[in-house]
C-alpha cells in the first residue's frame, strides 16, 4: 500500500473517485438538475484526471519513469499516459456538449439518466483500458467499454435504423472479443504471465508469434476500423447520439490503435512483412475511406468514413515504424510512430469537433441529410467557423494540426527512401502519391460539406436555430486545440518523442523528430495569419470608405431563384464518384421527361458499402440458410430438449464405455 500514498497517485485515484461519485447526483428527481450536477462533477473529475496526467513525468522535463500501482494491475508508462491524456482531453469538451445535447432528449421524455450512467461507465472503462497492465483486467475494461457504449447507443431504440446499426456494432464487438481472448491466451501460453510488462517475445520464437500479430491486427483492427473490417463504423456512427459518435470516433476507435502499438511493444522488433501489410491495408483504408465519404449524403455517415480515412493515415505511420523496426533504423521508427501518435491526438480533436458540430446542426434541422441543409452560416456563425477550422484541420491544410502530423508521416516516407536505398524510393514515392491523393480527396469532400451545409440559401425551413453557450464552448475548446497544435507544435512533438523513446524504439534513439525546426512552422504560420488579418483590416477599411455592394447570386439567366436551384452535394461529388463506380457501388437514376411540356424530373444517387453489401451480407445470408436447415430442432417444448440431452448423454457414455 505504500506505493499508493504518493502525491501523483492520490490525485490520480481521486480523479476516478470523483468521476464515479457523479453517479450519486443522478438521484436528484428533477432531470435537468440531475443532468447538470452529474456533468459538473464528471467534468471536475476529468479535469483532475487531466491535471494528474499532465503533471506526470511524460509532460514534465524529467526523465520518464513508468509507475505500477494496485500491485501491477495498472501501469503508467509513456504510451498509457499518452492515450489517457487523449481520452481525458477529448472527453472534457464532449461532456460539456452533453449539457445542451441531452436537454433535447429531456423534452422528448427519454431515459437520459440511463444514458448518463452508461456514458459514465464508458468514460471510466476507456480510461482504465489504456492504463491496464493485466490481460484479464484489460479484457474486462474492454467489455465494459463495448457494452456500455452499446447500451448508450440505443437511446432511440424504437427506430429501425438504430436497431440495425447497433446490432452491427454489437456483433462486430463480439467477434473482436473472441479474437482478443485467443490473442491473450496465446500470449499467456508463450510467456506464462498475464501482465503486459512481462510480455517480451522474439518474433523468431515460432509459428505462434505471427499468429499473435495477425490476431492483434484483426482484433484491434476491427475496433480501429481498417478497411476490410470497417463495415460497422458507417452503420454504428450515424445512429448513435452525437455525444457518443464524437466519443466513438474521437476516442474509442483509438483504443484499437493503442492495442496495435502495444502488440508492437511486445513483439519488437517485427519482421518487414508486418510493415508492408500495415502500409497496404492503411493506404487502401485511407483512399477508399475518403472516397466513400465523398459519396455520402448523410453527414454523420460521411464523418464515419472520414474516420476510416484517418485511421488509415495513422496506420501508414505505424507501418513506416514497423519497417524501421525491421531494418533497425531508429530515425524511421521515430518519424513513423511519431506521426501516427500525433495524428491520433489530432484526429481525436478534430473528429470530435466535427461530430459535435454536425450534432448541433442535425438536432436543429432534425435530419442528417446534407441535401436538406444550407445557408446555416447566417444562423449559427460560430458553429460555421469552428466547423470550418475542423474541416481544414482534417484535410491537412497547413495552419492547423492535421498538417503537422501528416508532415511528419511524409518526412518518414522520404527518410525511409533515403536510408534504405534499393527499390524503396519507388515504393515510398507511390505511397506518398497515395497519401497526397487522399489529402486532395479530403479537401474535395470537406469543400462539399462546408459549402452545402453552411453556404447558399436555406433548403429546409427552420424556425429557430438553437445554439447554446455549451455548444459553442465545447467546439471552441476543440478548435482552439486545433489551432494551438498547428501553430505551436513543439511541445506536443516533444511529448510524442518522449513516448517513443521510452520503451518503444530499441537501441540508440534518434532525435529526428525534435531536430525538425518546428519554430519555423510557428513563424511561417503566424506570418500567414498576420497577413490574413492585415488584409481583413484593409478590407474593412475599404468597405468603410466605399461601402459594400450586395446583390443576389447570378442565376444563369433564370429568374425567380429558389433554394432548389443550387449545387447539391451529389452533383458536386458526381464526377469523382463515377470513377470507381463498382467499388463504391454507386447508383445513379435520372428520369428526365423529354415531352413538349416537361413533367417533373427525378434524380437519385446512392452508394452502398462494398464490403458490407458484397461480402458481409451475402455471407450471413448463406449462414442463415445453413442454420435454417436445422431449425426443426428448435422446438417450443422443453421435453424435446430433455430428449436431446438424453441422446447426447447416451452417445457420450457409449463412447466413454468403449474407450475404457
Amino acid at each position: 500500500m505504500n506505493d499508493l500514498i504518493d502525491s501523483h497517485n492520490v490525485l490520480f485515484i481521486a480523479a476516478f473517485i470523483i468521476q464515479l461519485l457523479s453517479i450519486v447526483f443522478l438521484s436528484i428527481k428533477n432531470e435537468r438538475k440531475a443532468l447538470f450536477s452529474t456533468n459538473i462533477v464528471l467534468l471536475i473529475g476529468l479535469a483532475f484526471g487531466l491535471i494528474s496526467t499532465l503533471s506526470s513525468t511524460l509532460f514534465t522535463s524529467a526523465e520518464i519513469s513508468s509507475r505500477n500501482i494496485f500491485s501491477n494491475f495498472i501501469r503508467l508508462d509513456g504510451l498509457s499516459i499518452y492515450f489517457l491524456f487523449i481520452v481525458q482531453l477529448v472527453a472534457i469538451p464532449i461532456t460539456i456538449y452533453n449539457f445542451s445535447y441531452l436537454q433535447h432528449y429531456i423534452e422528448q421524455k427519454r431515459p437520459i439518466k440511463n444514458f448518463i450512467i452508461f456514458y459514465l461507465i464508458l468514460l471510466i472503462s476507456t480510461q482504465f483500458l489504456v492504463i491496464a497492465n493485466q490481460a484479464i483486467f484489460f479484457l474486462i475494461c474492454w467489455e465494459a467499454m463495448t457494452i456500455s457504449a452499446y447500451l448508450a447507443m440505443v437511446l432511440e431504440r424504437e427506430k429501425e435504423e438504430v436497431q440495425r446499426g447497433s446490432f452491427y456494432y454489437f456483433a462486430t464487438s463480439h467477434v473482436i472479443i473472441f479474437v482478443l481472448y485467443i490473442f491473450f491466451f496465446l500470449l499467456h501460453h508463450l510467456t506464462g504471465s498475464w501482465f503486459f510488462s512481462d510480455y517480451h517475445i522474439l518474433f523468431s520464437t515460432g509459428i505462434v508469434v505471427p499468429i499473435i500479430f495477425i490476431l492483434s491486427f484483426i482484433g484491434f483492427g476491427i475496433k480501429a476500423g481498417f478497411m476490410p473490417f470497417h463495415f460497422w463504423l458507417p452503420q454504428a456512427h450515424p445512429i448513435a447520439p452525437s455525444v457518443l459518435s464524437a466519443f466513438f470516433s474521437g476516442v474509442m476507435i483509438k483504443t484499437g490503435i493503442y492495442g496495435i502499438l502495444r502488440t508492437f511493444q511486445f513483439l519488437n522488433p517485427v519482421p518487414e512483412w508486418c510493415g508492408w501489410l500495415m502500409l497496404c491495408v492503411s493506404i487502401i483504408s485511407a483512399i477508399f475511406g475518403v472516397w466513400y465519404a465523398l459519396a455520402q449524403h448523410d453527414i454523420k455517415r460521411l464523418l464515419a468514413y472520414h474516420s476510416v480515412e484517418n485511421i488509415g493515415i495513422i496506420g501508414i505511420g505505424i507501418g513506416i515504424g514497423f519497417i524501421g523496426s525491421a531494418n533497425n533504423l531508429p530515425v524511421v521508427q521515430v518519424l513513423g510512430f511519431g506521426g501516427a501518435l500525433l495524428h491520433t491526438l489530432n484526429h481525436a480533436i478534430f473528429k470530435s469537433l466535427l461530430f459535435i458540430g454536425s450534432g448541433v446542426v442535425c438536432q436543429n434541422l432534425e435530419t442528417r441529410n446534407i441535401e436538406l441543409m444550407g445557408g446555416l452560416v447566417h444562423r449559427a456563425k460560430y458553429i460555421a467557423i469552428f466547423f470550418l477550422i475542423g474541416s481544414v484541420a482534417i484535410s491537412g491544410i497547413p495552419p492547423f494540426n492535421g498538417f503537422i502530423s501528416e508532415f511528419i508521416i511524409y518526412t518518414g516516407f522520404f527518410k525511409t527512401a533515403n536510408e534504405l536505398k534499393n527499390y524503396y524510393p519507388i515504393i515510398m514515392l507511390m505511397f506518398v502519391v497515395g497519401l497526397a491523393f487522399v489529402g486532395g480527396l479530403a479537401v474535395a469532400c470537406f469543400t462539399k460539406v462546408n459549402s452545402i451545409m453552411f453556404l447558399g440559401n436555406e433548403r429546409k425551413e427552420v424556425k429557430h436555430f438553437h445554439t447554446s453557450i455549451y455548444d459553442n464552448s465545447s467546439l471552441g475548446i476543440l478548435a482552439l486545440l486545433c489551432v494551438v497544435i498547428g501553430f505551436y507544435p513543439q511541445p506536443f512533438v516533444g511529448v510524442v518523442n518522449k513516448v517513443i523513446t521510452n520503451g518503444f524504439v530499441k537501441g540508440n534513439s534518434s532525435s529526428a523528430l525534435i531536430n525538425i525546426d518546428w519554430l519555423y512552422f510557428t513563424v511561417i504560420f503566424s506570418s500567414i495569419a498576420l497577413s490574413v488579418f492585415v488584409l481583413y483590416l484593409i478590407k474593412i477599411k475599404l468597405e468603410k470608405k466605399y461601402g459594400r455592394r450586395t446583390s443576389p447570386a447570378w442565376g444563369c439567366g433564370y429568374e425567380n431563384l429558389n433554394p432548389r436551384m443550387q449545387y447539391t452535394a451529389s452533383s458536386f461529388a458526381d464526377e469523382l464518384n463515377t470513377i470507381p463506380k463498382s467499388v463504391l457501388v454507386y447508383h445513379k437514376k435520372v428520369e428526365i421527361s423529354e415531352t413538349a411540356f416537361p413533367l417533373p424530373s427525378k434524380f437519385e444517387s446512392h452508394s452502398k458499402d462494398f464490403i458490407d453489401s458484397k461480402i458481409i451480407l451475402p455471407l450471413f445470408n448463406f449462414l442463415k440458410l445453413l442454420v435454417g436447415k436445422i431449425e426443426f430442432l428448435s422446438q417450443t417444448d422443453v421435453r424435446y430438449y430433455i430428449a436431446f440431452i438424453l441422446i447426447i448423454i447416451t452417445i457420450y457414455s457409449l463412447i466413454a464405455f468403449l474407450w475404457v
Binding site: 417450443t636 422443453v638 464405455f657 475404457v660
Partner: protein, 210 residues
C-alpha cells in the same frame, strides 16, 4: 444392507412408472427420501457422531416432510387434476424402462471390474437418473416434471454414495438447498402460470416463445 435398500429404491421406481396418479408420485418421493436417509445413516450405526447425523436428518426433513408437503399444497391450492396425463401408455413405458435398466445394470457390472464401485447402488442411482429424465420427457403436467426432477436428484444422491464412500458434506447440503430452491421456484412459477393460462401442461409454455 445397502444392496437391499437400493433394490427397494428400484422397486419404487417401477411403481412410479406404472402409476397414473399424481398423489402416488409424492408418496414415492417420501419413500425414496426415507430410503436415502437410512442409507446415509448406515455408516454411523457403529460409531455414532453428532456431526455425521446432520446430513441424514436434514435430508429426512427436506425430502420426506418439506418438499412433499409443499407439492401437496400446490396440488390442492391450484386444484390440479389427479391424472398425470402421459404421452405414452404405461404398458409401453414399462418395457422401455426395463430395457434401459437391464442395459445400465449390465454396463455397471462390466464397469465394476475395472473400477471399484458398489454395483447395485450405482446402477440403481443411474436408473433413477434416466427414469427421471424419461418422466420429464413423457409426461405433460408441470407438477409431474417437478417430481421427475426430484427423482433424478435422488438418483444423483444414490449414485454419489455408490461412487465415493462419503461425499463431502458441504456439497450434499448444497445440493439439498439447491433442490429445495428449485422446487420452491417451480411452485411460484406454477402459481403464476395458473394465473396466466388455464391448464398446467407443458404445451402451454410453448406459447411463451418469442
Amino acid at each position: 444392507m445397502e444392496n437391499v435398500l437400493s433394490i427397494l429404491f428400484c422397486l419404487s421406481l417401477f411403481y412410479v412408472v406404472v402409476t397414473s396418479r399424481v398423489k402416488a408420485y409424492v408418496t414415492v418421493l417420501r419413500v425414496q427420501g426415507i430410503i436415502l436417509a437410512i442409507l446415509l445413516m448406515i455408516p454411523f450405526i457403529y460409531h455414532f457422531s453428532i456431526f455425521g447425523i446432520i446430513l441424514p436428518a436434514t435430508l429426512l426433513l427436506v425430502k420426506v416432510f418439506l418438499i412433499p408437503r409443499y407439492i401437496n399444497k400446490v396440488i390442492l391450492d391450484l386444484d390440479i387434476k389427479r391424472r398425470i396425463e402421459p404421452t405414452i401408455q404405461q404398458m409401453v413405458f414399462l418395457p422401455i424402462v426395463i430395457a434401459s435398466m437391464i442395459v445400465i445394470f449390465l454396463a455397471s457390472n462390466i464397469l465394476s471390474k475395472s473400477t471399484e464401485l458398489n454395483v447395485i447402488p450405482f446402477a440403481s442411482g443411474f436408473s433413477a437418473i434416466v427414469i427421471g429424465i424419461y418422466i420429464i420427457m413423457f409426461r405433460k403436467k408441470l407438477i409431474v416434471h417437478v417430481c421427475g426432477f426430484l427423482i433424478l436428484e435422488n438418483g444423483i444422491f444414490l449414485f454419489g454414495t455408490a461412487v465415493a464412500s462419503e461425499l463431502p458434506m458441504m456439497i450434499e447440503l448444497g445440493t439439498l438447498l439447491d433442490v429445495f430452491v428449485v422446487v420452491f421456484l417451480m411452485g411460484i412459477a406454477l402459481n403464476r402460470i395458473s394465473n396466466t393460462f388455464e391448464g398446467f401442461e407443458i404445451t402451454d409454455l410453448g406459447r411463451l416463445k418469442d
